[in-house]
């Protein structure tokens, strides 16, 4: 009897709950798990009645998931996903252009040029090498200064980098090398680098975490994870290779056909607001709103100048082709060749 009562009560609650529920936005994201909470809290605090449900994975996987669900999209908003991925979705006609309140206050370089913009940038994340000084001293490794240094034989089996097919960080590394070295020399460079790579990881954070743990002394990663780990006491130095750093913009976009358009716009508005940018600033050296970023002890003040000149549209248009070639060359190998 008691059980029956309890079930009845539960059902009643569930029904009442759905009748008066807040709007729940399904938001696909590639943001780091340790960033999500702060963003969600602040947004929900400023927008009572709207709740965020995150679906989180690496950039490549979120992109593949969104593309696979094209016929029947599950996401209302995409937030914190690489602009080069969002441009792929835009090409497929999956995004709903929207100019958030105050979008004119953001740097033009980090907002889609279309009107209304299909995506609006939040922050920039770029390549950084995590270099474990303790292990390097044991192994007699010199600190690399350039991307080309990494192809020296002394680093054989000492380097980890993210798989570009699954990781946004991995993808901008590869696209930057092709851009800076040229298509032909870029692949030649990666052939040589491949000989020194111990593992390609699933996520962009893992190489730096492995470097921090000394598992592999050199990890190709990005500046937020590197600075965070160094702050936490890991014996790593951050290296910014002198040929220039690949980068991408973490951006927000609304999915076409969302049933929660109003709430989705609220989230897009918030993502472009000063209060959101102040949260991004805690994690990133460059944010979309000029003048908000503060210097970070572990990241040089001229970080923005170290980034390469890059055309995100080119990265997006060639994404399929580049990833197919990369997978053919390096992922199919069961073991590092030669």
């Amino acid at each position: 009897m008691k059980l029956v009562n309890r079930i009845a009560l539960g059902l009643a609650c569930a029904m009442a709950g759905s009748a008066f529920a807040d709007t729940t936005l399904t938001v696909y994201t590639a943001l780091e798990a340790d960033q999500l909470k702060a963003y969600q809290q602040k947004f929900e605090e400023e927008n009572p009645g709207i709740k965020i449900k995150w679906v989180r994975d690496s950039t490549g996987i979120i992109t593949a998931k969104l593309l696979a669900e094209k016929a029947n999209p599950q996401a209302d908003v995409v937030m914190g996903v690489a602009a080069s991925s969002l441009l792929v979705l835009e090409k497929e006609g999956m995004l709903q252009g929207y100019a958030p309140k105050g979008v004119d206050k953001l740097s033009k370089a980090y907002v889609d040029s279309a009107n209304p913009p299909a995506w609006v940038g939040m922050d920039v994340w770029g390549a950084t090498i995590c270099f474990n000084t303790v292990e390097a001293a044991k192994l007699g490794l010199k600190k690399p200064e350039s991307w080309h240094d990494l192809t020296k034989p002394e680093y054989k089996g000492r380097i980890v980098m993210p798989n570009p097919a699954s990781s946004g960080t991995g993808y901008f590394d590869v696209s930057a090398w092709l851009k800076v070295f040229g298509e032909k020399d870029g692949w030649t460079y990666m052939d040589k680098l491949h000989d020194n790579i111990a593992q390609y990881t699933h996520s962009g954070s893992k190489p730096c975490k492995q470097a921090a743990a000394g598992e592999f002394p050199v990890g190709i990663s990005f500046e937020y994870r590197a600075a965070k780990l160094k702050e936490g006491g890991a014996p790593i130095d951050l290296v910014f290779p002198k040929e220039g750093l690949g980068w991408d913009v973490e951006a927000t976009a609304i999915m076409k056909g969302t049933k929660n358009a109003d709430a989705a716009k609220k989230l897009a508005d918030w993502s472009a607001s000063r209060s959101a940018n102040e949260l991004y600033e805690k994690n990133f050296a460059i944010v979309a709103m000029p003048g908000v970023a503060k210097p970070n002890a572990h990241i040089p003040g001229n970080y923005e100048q170290l980034l390469i000149k890059q055309d995100l549209k080119w990265s997006a248009t060639n994404r399929d082709k580049i990833l197919a070639e990369w997978t053919k060359r390096y992922d199919a190998k069961s073991e590092p060749k030669k």
Partner: protein, 562 residues
Amino acid sequence: MIALRAGGRIAADRSQQVAAGLLWLLAAALVLGLALPLAAILGKALTGDDGRFAGLAQFAAIVGEARFWDAVSNSLAVSLTTTMIVLPLAYVFAAALTRTCMPAKPLFRALALTPLLAPSLLPGIALVYLFGNQGLLKAWFPDGSIYGFWGIVIAEVFFTFPHALMILVTALSVADARLYEAATALGAGRIRRFVTVTLPAARYGLISSALVVFTLVIVDFGAPKVIGGQYNVLAVEVYKQVIGQQNFPKGAVIGMLLLLPAVLAFVIDHLLQRRQRALLTARAQPLVVRPQAWVDVLSTVACAAIGGALLVIIATAVAAAFIRLWPYNLSLTLAHFDFDNMDGGGWAAFYNSMKMALATSVIGTLMVFGGAYLAEKTRAAPVARQLLKLLAIIPMAVPGLVLGLGYILFFNNPANPLHFLYGSMTALVLCSVMHFYTTANLTATTALKQLDAEFEAVAASLKVPFWTTLWRVTLPVCLPAMLDIARFYFVSAMCTVSAVIFIYTPDTVLASVAVLNMDDAGDTAAAAAMATLIVAASALICLVFSVASWWLSRRTQAWRIR
């Protein structure tokens, strides 16, 4: 008088009707949770991108890729090597448990079965800390060579050892003493007796355990995912295609191919078991084991070494969970249990797993036992009974990865009226119940077969409906077997990764999946922490079940003693 008899017949008819209804209901559940998802995979594998029938075109395309054959040969190499290592180890251990007077047998037995409490990801994580570049014993595998072939093999040896052991213990615990006496009388030495008597008698057990180990390894993707490095195997390839590229047709095709070795092993095993029954005769004399100092000492040493190695792997993962920053800061911390600030789903994942495992345990036990009872003990609905028996043996041959993939393809189809189940806890529970159905069903059937069919015959002639017999006679007698099934379901559901990796959603993320995701994100220590929690929860439940089983058998099994 006539009225009374007619009344009895009506009661008996109703009993038959109820039994038939239940049988059809269970058969329908198995069709829904097993047959249709499998059919969905086959359909997907045969359908092209454009939605038209493509025949074997997609198989041909994949078989033409060098990458595929790399994965095939890697999978075969890993599976064969693991089998060749596990068999002798498990044989020695099983022989020590059954054929010697080694001390502390229950302890060794328990130690050898502990890997059953852990997901296959755990040995992978432990090996990083043992043999990785910062491992305690890194000199054994210099320059990260643990990532790859040997890493996978060692992890799989850990993972499959108890499975091989259980089969071999059963095979070795029956022996005909007369054969040994005859051999000794004819002057056969120890080795000759082993080759001519022991091995032939155990050969079915050996083949059976070899097949089980081979199949478990070739379909497992937990260990190669964590410790495989760039060494690509088929199971990981399915995962990469489905999760990484969302390429469902390709995943379905490789999944179908992965079904081949499992089905083949299953068929061979069944054919052999049929032959084995003729082996033991009614006149066989049980073998009495006598103490032999040097054999017992050697056995103890061997079992201590093997058990110790298994223990080291678990202990390493547990230790890793509490160390702040291996190898630079060895202070102890609970920081890695702060799952809510990490990838993987947070503490919710652990609670979800507990809920899922409990539900699987309760529903699975009721379903399996009910099904086995109705199929064995009633004569209602012959078609449904045969269907149920047939479907019940299929899960053994279906890798979890394939079943999970079938669930997405079947339930995530918007045209399916059961679409609402997609991603729900119900789907996860149903999938787990199905995935482990065969083993549970074998336990139930064996227990039921111990009961004479007379009970039902007498009940029928007394016009007692079947549920009265079930409640008064069958259930009390079969309680220990039911507890076994419930425990098996709980522990298996707690540890499974492969069956659920495709069908969880952010709301229903599970602990074993969290282990995988945290390792993917580089939070190895947190992954170890979650794996530790899984082992602890499984161990606790096993303990609870042992106590319950002891208490219940005192109350219900007293008749066995006399």
